[in-house]
Each structure stands twice: as structure tokens, then as C-alpha cells.
Amino acid sequence: MSTQGEDLALVEAFKRGEESAYTALVIKYREPVYRIARRMLRNHEDASDVAQEVFIRVHRALPRFAAKAAVRTWLYRITVNLCLDFTGRRARDVLTGLRALIWEPSPHGNPGEAAERRELGDVVAAAIDALPPRQRAMVVLRVYQDLPYAEISRIMGCAEGTVKATMFAAFGKLRTALAPYVTGRVE
């Protein structure tokens, strides 16, 4: 059975009253939902909070889910919208800024390499953070979730052409920000 077929079967089971079907959906999608939120919000606590809120909304809305979109698209759309709301709120909060970014050290690797990766992580994080929220969302969905443009357009509620144009603009900014680290070698 395809992923979409499995998801729809879980939704139908939940509608019949099987609470375990909801738990199965949470277990299947909690990690990508958290990772999208984490990439967009740059903070573990906020990302966890938003991920839980996503699944609370899913629990509330599942009985009315009409399968017009794929379950994954629907879930990611809720995630992105909640992250955009949260980002809008946080932008007004003077206490939160780039300095509040948390990068957890990897449990593996030597200290020198870890420091280097951390520095690169900070640079990349700052470059992504500098993007407008919708551009950031599209970059996260494409680069880190590897979603096709068509699905990103459904998640973001815009035309596929808009996704292409937005990605183009976002990558222009990312290339400028990361230029010192790009050699431009042709293999």
C-alpha cells in the first residue's frame, strides 16, 4: 500500500473510533514535522511546542478530513502556517534574536571538527534566518524535506510558478550570504 493509502486508512480507522490510528499518524510524522519547525524557528523548545500544537489541531480536524489533499501535505501545511504565525509573533518580541539560536553539539566527531561544523552551522543558520518567512519555509521544504515543487505549492497555497520564483530569489540571497564558502569549482 502506498504511503498515501496507508495514511488514508489510518484516517478512516480514526474516524471509526480507533484512537491508536491517530497515535500511529503521530509516530509516523512527528519527526519531519518537528524538523520543519526546528529549521524554521531555530529553537528546540518552540519547535517541540509547535509540533505538539500541529498534532492537537490534527486530532481536532481529523473527523472532518475529506482527503482532498494528501495527509502529508495537509500536515505540513498546518506546520508551516503555525511556524509562520509563530515567526510573526517572535519578530515582535525583542528578547528573541539570532543570539538565542541553539546548536546542539553532535555526540560524535572530534572537538576541532565539531567547532568547524558549529561555525558553518551558525553561518548557514544566519543565512536561512535572514530570509523572509515564506522564502525560508520553501527552502526548508525543498532542501531539507526534498519535496517536489508541486507539493510545496499546495502546502504554501500558491502556484508552482510562484514557488520557482521564490526559490530563485531565496537562493540568490543564500548564495550571496554563503559566497565566502563557495569555491565555484567545476568538477
Partner: protein, 174 residues
Amino acid sequence: MERDVVSCKEARDLLLEVVSGTTPPDARRALWRHLDVCEDCRREAAALEETVVLLRAVPEPHLGDEHWARFMAGLDRRLESARAAPWARTPRWFRHPVHAWTTAAATVALVVVLGLTLSGRPWSRQAAEPEPNPLRGFATQSVVDALPAMDASLAVWKAGFGAPDVSYELTGGD
């Protein structure tokens, strides 16, 4: 039918999509064919690819079983409280807003204003200017003098000519 990329503009349009993630194989093949013969686009592709590699080089935080156990326990608690109290369904940042006092003061002010407006306090009516009578300009002295006669005529018209209880005598006017 196999797709074909002819111009550099088409190649650049396709480049970002191909470099940044999964793309249909025919699009990839078409782009590679163009890159084989175009050095400018090849250089552009290399720079874009390096940018994507840098973006993906940032480590994902390690999430252990302990994290997910806490996550599921927290989710269960929030679902329980959502079932217990409908207002608890609102997100945490809404339940504990940053500007709680400002919001409370604005709400109280709004309630007071609405209350005064809806209760129809006399000051609100006194403050209003009286509506000007649109006929005031036409009420000359001769019109005022003719009013009783017009009144009698109206009574006759209403009752019909020949009605016994209507006086035909004009009581005013010329």
C-alpha cells in the same frame, strides 16, 4: 517523448529545481545534455550545487527515545486538557500573551464604550444636533394664514362633497 533543453535561460530555470532536490529523470537528463556543451551553465550549476551542499551540511540535532517519550507525554497532557476545557485548545502563546495587561485594558475600555452606547445614555442624545426641518424655508406668513382653509378643504376632500357634518365655511386665508 524526451524533454530537450535548448537555451541557457531554460537550463537556468531548471537548474535550481534539479540541484535542490528530487526531480523527474527526464528533466535531469535534459539538463545534463545542456551542461555537456555549455561551460557557463556548468559553472553556475557547480556554484548552486555547492550552496545546497553547504545548506545540507548543517547537522540535524540528535533526537533520542527520551525526547520522543517526553513529546508524546506532553501531547497526551495537552490533548487531555483540550478535552477538559475548550478554552485550553488555544495555543500556549495565546493563553499567556506577552501584552496581557495591554490586552486586558483595551478589552475593558471596549466593554465600557459598548455598554454606554447600547444603554442609550441621555448625554449621547443631547449631544446630537437636532435635525433641521426641510420645510422651514417655505413656511412664509401667507402660507401659515392659509393653513386653516387648507385644513377645511382637506376635510371636505376626505369626507366627499355633500357630507352633512363638514363645514364649507372658510375660516382663514384670503
